[in-house]
């Protein structure tokens, strides 16, 4: 394996090995650029993954201390575990379900399209759908997204069949199982899906795309990547010309190291990315590195989520097969008449019995609750993934009084939901109840997602430097060789799952970096 010296200042250092970091690395390496990648978690083999919800949670989840505040469910039910992200090589591409949908054209200009929304900090993206389209194409081909570019569809399962038929009967017409980064048959050195039903726990056969089994080995094959796992980035260093010069990190033995760098890309997910920049504050950057605007850590967004489950007279067996096998897109657009800005997707989604017991009704107990769980074999499930309004007050900040294992202040994640989130949930539940009743459901239950799996904002891109942290390429408005490469860049969440957009933005960023390096501008 390639090794670079700690004092080699010609390398690009990438913090994080998930969708953003690994996609930048793969593109740079294939352009002949040397990369050192730091990943806080261990490098696991897919054979080590667990088809057991509890064991997989323990194995994959980022469990370092965090706090939650505000009016969101995590502050109430999981105040020390508000996010569901992964600490391992591959990042959250290990537990994602492969849903790979493009943002809609209007979602790149939410302020223009929705108009001003009171209590929200909307801005338009500094790039258009057309500008990102070629990168979406590249990302879909590289990830093997089903139903795109001539790739076959994955087979549909029982849970999808229920949602599909119910949706048709209530008049929905845009229902599809296309757009999933799971192999229908063997492709790209990985096998076809066996419909095992544990997408969320790390796919043991690698039919599902992740950076662990695709981008990272592809980058390593170039001989240009050194991946250092179990290395936690602690601080970025800079000089008095506002250039980043290196990364201080704790290696797998807990020893502090300094890797010099020509350029740094940060992709630690929307909490760890701003946290690293806050922890890199200096006399020149007293409020965090590159935080001239004061927007660092702010405008944190999740997607607005909800779960709906229905009980039928005949078996469904929702756990068999792909966890999220397809979605209804008829509510994805913006329609001011519904009482909220933006739209949502209705995704068929299954949970195993242990997880369902926790999310059906957090804190739940009693005869009624138990009786619904006992219907497990007869249940169908759906998940809402909807646009969440950004708010300046929703933010990641540091709690100086509470230190982590490295002696650094732990992050607090504050969310006071915009009232539109609850309006959207109400709309979703009315629609999904109607869908399931149309195919004979006898009972409908609203479930609650607690921790946030989709995390965005906190270093948002903006045309005007005072409104964000980075430009449309993810480059810091202040520091020319500092990039943000993950979902932290998003100015708005859209209604679609974030990974495909993270990968497309990362490829665009990497092309931009490579072109500048060739021109000797970086």
């Amino acid at each position: 394996m390639k090794r670079f010296a700690l004092d080699d200042d010609s390398v690009v250092v990438i913090v994080g090995s998930g969708a953003g970091g690994a996609s930048v690395a793969r593109t740079l390496c294939r352009r002949g650029i040397d990369v050192v990648m730091l990943e806080a978690g261990p490098r696991l083999s897919p054979a080590q993954f667990h088809q057991d919800e509890n064991a997989a949670f323990q194995q994959l989840t980022w469990l370092d201390r965090r706090r939650a505040s505000g009016n969101w469910a995590a502050a109430r039910f999981a105040p020390q575990l508000p996010l569901l992200t992964v600490k391992a090589v591959g990042g959250s591409t290990l537990h994602w379900n492969g849903l790979s949908y493009r943002l809609q054209e209007h979602e790149f200009r939410p302020l223009s399209h929705y108009g001003r929304v009171a209590g929200a900090s909307l801005i338009d993206w500094p790039l258009s759908a057309a500008e990102l389209a070629p990168y979406y194409d590249r990302a879909e081909k590289q990830m093997g997204v089903s139903g795109r570019h001539g790739l076959p569809l994955t087979a549909t399962n029982n849970n999808y069949k229920v949602l599909y038929n119910g949706a048709r009967r209530v008049g929905y017409r845009r229902i599809s199982n296309a757009g999933i980064a799971i192999n229908a048959g063997p492709r790209d050195g990985r096998p076809g899906c066996l419909q095992m039903g544990f997408c969320n726990q790390g796919c043991k056969i690698s039919a599902k795309w992740s950076t662990l089994v695709a981008s990272i080995p592809e980058a390593e094959a170039t001989g240009k990547l050194e991946l250092r796992d179990q290395c936690m980035a602690l601080q970025l260093e800079h000089n008095d010309r506002d250039r980043v010069t290196g990364v201080i990190y704790a290696d797998r033995h807990g020893r502090r190291q300094r890797q010099r760098a020509r350029l740094v890309c940060v992709a630690g997910n929307a909490v760890e990315t701003p946290r690293l920049l806050f922890n890199s504050a200096s006399s020149r950057h007293p409020h965090g590195l590159g935080n001239d605007s004061g927007e660092l850590g702010r405008n944190y967004m999740r997607h607005t989520m909800a779960l709906g489950f229905a009980s039928f007279d005949k078996p469904v067996n929702m756990h068999r097969g792909i966890t999220t096998p397809g979605a209804v897109f008829d509510e994805a657009g913006h329609d001011g008449g519904r009482g909220f800005a933006g739209g949502y997707l209705i995704q068929a989604a299954s949970l195993g019995l242990p997880t369902l017991a926790g999310l059906l009704q957090p804190g739940g107990w009693g005869a009624d609750y138990a009786a619904f769980l006992a219907r497990y074999k007869y249940l169908a499930g759906a998940l809402m993934n909807g646009e969440e309004m950004p708010r300046r007050e929703n933010r990641v900040s540091l709690l100086d009084a509470h230190k982590d294992q490295y002696g650094l202040p732990i992050p607090n994640v504050h969310v006071d939901e915009h009232p539109m989130s609850e309006s959207m949930r109400g709309h979703f539940h009315r629609r999904v109840q109607a869908i399931y009743q149309a195919v004979g459901a006898s009972e409908y239950r609203a479930g609650t997602t607690v921790a946030a799996a989709h995390n965005m904002g906190t270093c948002r891109m903006s045309a005007r430097p005072e409104q964000g942290v980075v430009d449309s390429y993810g480059c810091s408005h202040r520091i020319g060789n500092l990039f943000v490469s993950d979902g932290s860049q998003f100015p708005s969440s859209g209604a679609e799952n974030p990974t495909l957009t993270i990968v497309a933005l990362a490829m665009r960023q990497a092309d931009h970096i490579a072109a500048k390096m060739i021109r000797r501008e970086l």
């Binding site: 569901l84 087979a155 029982n158 229920v162 845009r174 544990f198 989520m305 926790g358 997602t449 946030a452």
Partner: protein, 175 residues
């Protein structure tokens, strides 16, 4: 080893504080291994079993399923703070009315549990009972959750699309 132990303790505290679950994943009961079986009296154990059945009543389950849960709960006693909480909680259930918990009428027990819902011992026992009960393969078997599937080749040849009471989905553009 030490850091693993610390991690477990942390997780335990998380769950204590939270009573919780995260989107798409369950937290497993991470409890100290040492389980002093004799730490509870026979009466206390019977009250505990009755409480678990009150919280998650299932006609299809028998004593053995609930005993598995009680066994998981007794492992919580390895932590001194939790031990105090549980023993005081059981005393509260048994003591107040002069009659033992399990001898009181079901409606009376239910009303009392509703009052106790926010008590720390209630939340601790509710959370770990839920975790243990619905993570038990013997319970899964009764309700149709099939667990691990790779060893049997997934469901590709075993019914992932065997639902026969609705038509097959068509192929549409979607997005």
């Amino acid at each position: 080893m030490r850091s693993m132990h610390k991690r477990r303790r942390l997780l335990l505290k998380l769950m204590l504080a939270a009573g919780l679950l995260a989107a798409g994943a369950a937290v497993s009961p991470a409890v100290p291994a040492a389980a002093p079986a004799a730490a509870l009296t026979r009466d206390q154990l019977r009250t505990l079993a009755a409480l678990v059945a009150d919280l998650f009543p299932h006609a299809a389950l028998d004593q053995s399923h609930y005993q598995n849960v009680v066994a998981a709960l007794t492992r919580l006693l390895g932590d001194a703070g939790q031990r105090r909480l549980i023993i005081a909680g059981l005393a509260q259930l048994d003591g107040a009315a002069g009659r033992r918990w399990r001898e009181r009428a079901p409606a009376q027990r239910l009303a009392r549990l509703k009052q106790l819902e926010s008590a720390a011992f209630f939340q601790l026992l509710r959370y770990h009972s839920m975790q243990a009960l619905y993570s038990d393969p013997a319970v899964w078997a009764l309700y149709g959750y099939q667990g691990e599937s790779l060893s049997k080749g997934g469901y590709l040849q075993r019914g992932f699309n065997d639902l026969d009471w609705l038509p097959e989905p068509g192929v549409e553009a979607g997005q």
